[in-house]
């Protein structure tokens, strides 16, 4: 289907909704293709190809709204969908906080958007990879991973490629299309020690094929994660210094995000209710949300409500400088949308100057966490308790592997004590370096 056809379908949805009595409407049309191949122990394990299309419409009738979606883009189905949405909105109830983004909230004049979107470099323009190409890539990664010292076998190595086109438009005149390409690779391996098995994996994704980490690194990381924890055992319950490695530390930023979201503030269900403008981290801590990083995983010009985003300091010199919101959640606490109806863009905790090894030396004795299991923190109270595994830190170096323990504490204390090392990870949209997070209750034997 051409992009013209997607635009035509979006326009038809909005026009039908308006003629059925809607006072405003927005639509999202998407079309995508994907292919992935998994090889396990040199045998073809799984091949998946897909081709999907969908239409989504949100209508407003005054301050009432409804949304509908369908896989069919046939004109008569679109008309029926729009009429149905308006009928649903009419029997819904008023919501004083909803709205549609007008030109003042858009990232730029829609005519300039195509060039700006291209400048984010989220599309390499390539046609979908052949299954044969993906298979040979997966075979190579599977073979490398199995050669890693101590690895008993592979759980599967994958390569994938997808392409997507998303058209967004609203009845106030916003209209734009974004193309994205996405490449992925990943491998899981198993290490054995008698009857005990440990798995380790590594996954990486990027908009450009050339930005994927090498097979060698992927295989090494998976192998190290599987073999490193062999012989792990719980330790006795105690309070001790805890360090999260740079794969686990983004947990802190995800919790921070939820705690400063307008919705949580409106519900008074955040432990940071009264902390805007206050020092909640050490004065050296900085956190930024930057939507315009070239090839950045979370990069975008606008959110799902067509509201533009800009680079925004979240924590500046330890001080909480902003809350984050979409149109509706923002209106609930009397602030404008920050363009975050679809979550954070590229959320980053600035690295410090100490290499992680030096940070561990400073800590002396404690627990280095390399794996977390379980659920989120209670944002209303800041309380958390999670399953953890990792290494005991003795005299400044990681020594024996530890598993089946829990770490528990309060996010407010973690924020206050947080001290970042210099090793900011290179993948993901929420990134942080290895961090000291204070003294936590480590529950074990």
């Amino acid at each position: 289907m051409t992009i013209k056809a997607l635009y035509a379908a979006g326009e038809r949805l909005i026009a039908s909704a308006l003629s059925a009595g809607a006072t405003g409407a927005s639509s999202r049309l998407s079309e995508g293709e994907s292919a992935s191949v998994t090889v396990r122990e040199a045998i073809l394990d799984d091949v998946s190809v897909s081709s999907d299309r969908s239409a989504h419409l949100r209508v407003l009738v005054g301050k009432r709204e409804a949304s509908v979606s369908s896989a069919s883009l046939l004109p008569e189905d679109l008309d029926r969908l729009a009429t149905e949405a308006v009928a649903m909105a009419k029997v819904s109830a008023e919501n004083p906080y909803i709205g549609l983004a007008g030109p003042d909230l858009w990232p730029a004049d829609p005519k300039k958007l195509p060039r700006l979107i291209r400048s984010l470099e989220r599309d390499d323009g390539a046609t979908l990879s052949s299954l044969e190409t993906l298979r040979s890539g997966a075979l190579a990664l599977d073979a490398l991973a199995r050669r890693h010292r101590g690895v008993a076998r592979s759980e599967g190595a994958s390569r994938s490629h997808s392409t997507d086109t998303v058209v967004r438009m609203n009845s106030l005149g916003f209209r734009t299309a974004a193309h994205t390409s996405w490449y992925g690779k990943g491998v899981g391996v198993i290490a054995e020690d008698g009857a005990v098995m440990h798995s380790g994996s590594d996954h990486h994704g990027a908009y450009f094929l050339g930005d994927l980490r090498s097979d060698e690194e992927c295989a090494r990381l998976a192998g190290e994660r599987a073999t490193g924890l062999l012989g792990a055992a719980p330790i006795a319950t105690n309070v001790m210094p805890v360090v999260l490695d740079n794969r686990m530390s983004p947990f802190i930023l995800r919790m921070l995000w939820r705690a400063i979201h307008a919705e949580s503030v409106y519900r008074k269900s955040t432990f940071l209710l009264d902390d805007l403008g206050r020092l909640i981290f050490a004065p050296s801590v900085m956190v930024v949300d930057d939507p315009h990083v070239r090839r950045g995983e979370g990069s975008r010009l606008y959110d799902s409500e067509c509201v533009g985003l800009t680079r925004r300091m979240i924590i500046e010199s330890g001080v909480l400088t902003t809350r984050v919101a979409g149109i509706e959640s923002g209106a609930k606490i009397g602030m404008p949308s920050t363009g975050h109806a679809s979550g954070p863009s590229n959320l980053t905790l600035f690295p410090g100057t100490l290499p992680p090894e030096a940070l561990l030396r400073d800590v002396g004795n404690g627990l280095l966490v390399t794996g977390l299991m379980g659920h989120d923190a209670n944002i209303a109270t800041g309380r958390f308790s999670l399953g953890a595994e990792g290494y005991l830190i003795e005299s400044g170096v990681p020594t024996r592997p530890v598993n089946k323990v829990t770490i528990a504490g309060n996010l407010r204390d973690v924020f206050r004590e947080l001290y970042p090392a210099s090793d900011l990870s290179s993948s993901g949209s929420v990134r942080a370096p290895t961090c000291f997070v204070g003294n936590l209750t480590v529950g074990g034997k």
Partner: protein
Amino acid sequence: MEQSMPVDRDPSAYFCALLGVDSDQLRTVVSALLRGAEDGELYLERADSESVTLEDGRVESPARSITQGFGLRRVSGESVLYASGSDVSLSAIRRAGRRLRELSAEERSYHATIVNRALARYTSASPLTLPLEERVRILRDVDTFARSDRSVTNVNATISGSHTRILIVRADGTMVTDERPLVSFGVSVECEKDGKREKSSARWGGRYGYDRIVGPVVWKPEVERARKEATEKLCAEACPSGEMTVVLGNGWAGVLLHEAVGHGLEGDFAWKKETVFAEMIGKNIASDLVTVVDDGTLLNRRGSITIDDEGTPTERTTLIENGVLVGFMHDRQSARLLNATPTGNGRRESYEHRPQVRMRNTYMLAGDTPPEEIIRSTPKGLYMPSFAGGSVDPVSGAFVFKCELAYKIEDGKLTTPVVGATLIGNCATVLLHVDMVGTDAEIDRGGGSCGKGGQWVPVGVGQPTIRLSGGVSVGGTLVKPSQRSE
């Protein structure tokens, strides 16, 4: 050719009309597309779903969606090749078939099967018959009722329903259909005391019409229970840490069973040797008080299915009998690779996903100790009536559960409520520590979903009250007995 179709007919008529063929022509197309494969099928699905939510006393964004699509699968030995698309047309399906042949050079002969006629486990009627105005009125009633207690600061309530029609066509000419209703009601209540807020929620539903879930006799006790729990959390203490005796409540607490042993008994993990139980058939993996089944036959349950998503009729599969592992759950592939019989556990989230071995309603059968007796005979420990959820790594066997509200057991009595507990342990050994099993076996009220490999399916869990005298640790936020964490 795409075209609009009336949907009030049986799935085979609906899809044949959509594709512009009769059922014999469709059989011919599928057997041609799957030539050379050992197994596989064409899966066609249309799902209609709707939901409406009330929050802060306001109805928020009622939604309705229609999805439809196909999934074509070729299975040969250990390999699964899957192509899916939202364009239900012969040309798109044939294109998908050609794409898969790019990588399936090997020629095998198809495993023909005779599929027995399945007994329906629920009505085929669509539940989506209650007008939006009615659902909105019910949500308002729930809100008003919950707020009759002044400590309630927020109520969130959602009513959702779906009707899914599927048609499965195998290369041996087998054609089976299913129509699956599913409705669910969820309520979350937030209470405040001295500036502190806590939430508690309840969810119920099954495979029937809305009439079974929206009556005040159904929702009033659920709302009352959620309100009571939220209030208790407000005055609860921090949870202690360490190894201790734990008593688990009946019903939903069976999610521990689902995570801790259920996943490890899925046949795909078994043939890949990615579960601690892979070589344990015939061995004791639980105390002899424990018998566990996975059952798709229970009428109208959320986890029940008349046929699985490969077309195999459902059954009641015994997994652990008096402590001994007697069998795994299988889809067609894992059964073939492990020389077993398919148990009807091949399930998928939607047409976009290949089937995997998945649970249905997984539960432990009742024992003979009254639940009060279990508490009474426990001098010191922790009672966990329910869990907020959990996860497991089947390879290492490690599991973690979150318990929002637990109670200390002191001298055979439930005493102080505690919050923030995490329960951790290992699948391979946890059930060996079951030393008491209650008489009060119960299946959960119908709110569970299980995720595996990026796919979510509705499931049921259940158990009687049970006691674990070891094998698990509790992680709490209490540092020293004299010091409160907050």
